[in-house]
Symmetry: C2
Subunit: 395 residues, 2 copies
């Protein structure tokens, strides 16, 4: 039997206990929980087959009472003696996509981000669209290309239309960007035809991940009218390997910033679901931004209520993300297009002026949130490196 | 043993042989093939477990050689003597969603439809957006709310913003519409990072279904800027219960209308994949339109090539639809917003002037295509009836 020493100030201590899917050489992917720098094999330690699955979906589908019960059991387990074979160093395991993604929705819930993009793309017009303060604007993204942190991302090719050209050309994106976001994972689905109220958020959402919604701005700007982003986003969306349970975010709950005009009744929340999560974006090792989730205009409970108000249901494994998190300050912006003002105000990255991503660049997003009783919990990082476009596709 | 009498002019004769998923009272859903007015149980008749699954996905994942081999075996089977218990009258079975939907993409490939909507929504501007003739415009829809023909569709509620109002109100959609489309079902997935060439269309796409992409125009028009349609579409998308194999559409292949400007190389097809499929839309029993698929500007092979050119892969069960099929004539328009010019030019339906859908209305879309050697094959219908909005949600 093994015991794990858990310092009170560990970002992966007893206040956190995020779930993921891991494997060791020669074994099948299965569910584990992270404690400090260790991964505990839950199928083995708890003897429960639901954790032998290669995704969190079967466990998540069991619903919120079961999530609470397992969290208690896991807390006891990792506080005591654990069977030797059930504990692996986090550096010695391979992490897999932690859940099978049903539908993927991406919102646009940062006022600062939406206004910055409005100023960049529609200069001279009002930065926010008339609907923006009335509803959480969102759209469906590609579920099949959601990948786990650590997966390399190949620079996409597509149609690019320089402003001074008559026709588009084909080639690798030259304006490859990131979007630092928080993602919410639906555990317990809802019934078709039954909208989810804001106050029922925690009955459906299992936990949160960090998201990097890679974006090819040049592909996007040519294609997106009138039906929205498509190939400029669909090549890859990276998520962190560890799903932080909603229960671990209790101490992070804050009110959203004031919402004016008052939202329609279905968007009003009695319990605040804004979240004081502080992100950090590192570009080739250098921190370039600290996006504050507490600045987001719409809460994830409001996003869920909106997404289902027309009768559409959510399913186990559905993922919805916040959209780029940008605060009011320049060094709080969660996308390079904002940080470098569309490349016109380059950032110094390790001494070199940079606008968008170059081949070989690596981006790592991390985050922390207040833990109950002080200290902070950590999100697993979301890391990705840019591979060059395929040679045959260069223009 | 049973034999099925197959008249040469049956729309569900030997030239068609569509696949679906059916059950009889007290039995589990499984794969069947439709022959005239009979459903043949393939798990039982062929003794192959892949057909005992409750979806076509395991069979579709086996790839195009296997699809061809099974089509030959099924042709022999239904032409001869079939075990008694394997044959059910089509009226005595329940049909299920024929495949598990991975990602759902909806295109916008009818020039007449796109131009009509441009005239309606952006009067005074050019009806087509600058990108429209350069790429098949498309976006991701909600996979979790794709339902099989015969499923009732509840009128959605949502935010509506009358043009003369300062702020949106909440209530049931008053401009509920249909979109008559053809959908393409991916059988064999592609590898991540490897675009699918137009000429490889038939190596990946298993077959076609009819699609009714129900649309709440008032919800859509308020929400869709700048990220595209979301709740105006996500409440329901109906598909026909029978998947017509691509092999059954060989005689329907035609060139697309002339494409000007010439598409970029990745969108050029050597083999034509336009399809001479003729749809029929009936509103409460009265035929109101005959949308011609042969008029579509972009072919489904071009849609697949475009969708994957950025490296995004397709998976077994992915569904992509053409977008509304509208021809140049008024009675060839595939959406009521076009047929009634946004309600301003009502249609006489059974003697009553009608603009959009009312509660209790039923829409049935059918289609036929030329069969090899003459005659026509049929698509299974896609049928849906409108239920009233939930009482608590009326405004």
């Amino acid at each position: 039997m093994t015991t794990i020493d858990i310092p009170g100030d560990s970002p992966f201590g007893l206040a956190n206990l995020p779930y993921g899917v891991f494997s060791t050489p020669g074994t099948a992917p299965r569910v584990g929980v992270r404690v400090t720098d260790w991964v505990v094999d839950l199928a083995q330690a708890l003897g429960d087959e639901v954790f032998a699955a290669p995704s969190l979906n079967p466990f998540m589908a069991q619903g919120p009472r079961r999530w609470a019960e397992v969290r208690e059991r896991v807390t006891e387990l990792v506080s005591g003696r654990i069977p030797d074979g059930a504990v692996h160093p986090v550096g010695g395991v391979r992490m897999h996509l932690p859940f099978e993604v049903g539908d993927f929705v991406d919102f646009y819930a940062s006022e600062h981000h939406a206004a910055n993009l409005g100023r960049l793309f529609r200069p001279g017009s009002s930065p926010l669209m008339p609907n923006w303060r009335h509803l959480p604007v969102g759209y469906h993204g590609r579920a099949g290309t959601v990948v786990v942190s650590g997966t390399d991302v190949r620079r996409p090719c597509g149609q690019l239309k320089p402003p001074d050209a008559d026709a588009p050309v084909f080639g690798p994106s030259r304006r490859l960007d990131i979007e630092a976001e928080l993602g919410f994972v639906v555990g317990a689905g809802s019934a078709p035809g039954s909208p989810v109220r804001c106050d029922d958020f925690a009955a459906h959402v299992f936990g949160a991940v960090l998201v990097n919604d890679w974006s090819a701005r040049d592909i996007q700007s040519w294609e997106y009218v009138p039906l929205g982003p498509f190939l400029g986003k669909s090549f890859a969306t990276s998520v962190s390997a560890w799903v932080v349970p909603l229960a671990a975010l209790e101490a992070a709950r804050v009110k959203t910033p004031p919402q004016d005009p008052e939202p329609l009744p279905y968007l009003r929340e009695n319990e605040p679901w804004g979240l004081d999560v502080e992100l950090s974006v590192r570009w080739n090792g250098q921190e370039v931004s600290r996006p504050p989730y507490r600045e987001m205009y719409w809460s994830p409970a409001q996003m869920l209520a909106h997404m289902t108000v027309n009768g559409a249901h959510v399913r186990t494994g559905d993922l919805y993300a916040s959209g780029t998190i940008s605060g009011p300050e320049r060094d709080q912006r969660g996308a390079f297009i904002e940080l470098t003002w569309n490349g016109r105000e380059p950032l110094e990255v390790n001494g070199t002026p940079r606008g968008f991503l170059e081949d070989g660049d690596e981006v790592v997003i991390t985050a922390t949130a207040p833990a109950p009783g002080g200290g902070r919990i950590g999100f697993g990082e979301v890391r990705g490196r840019v591979l060059p476009a395929l040679a045959g596709e260069r223009d």
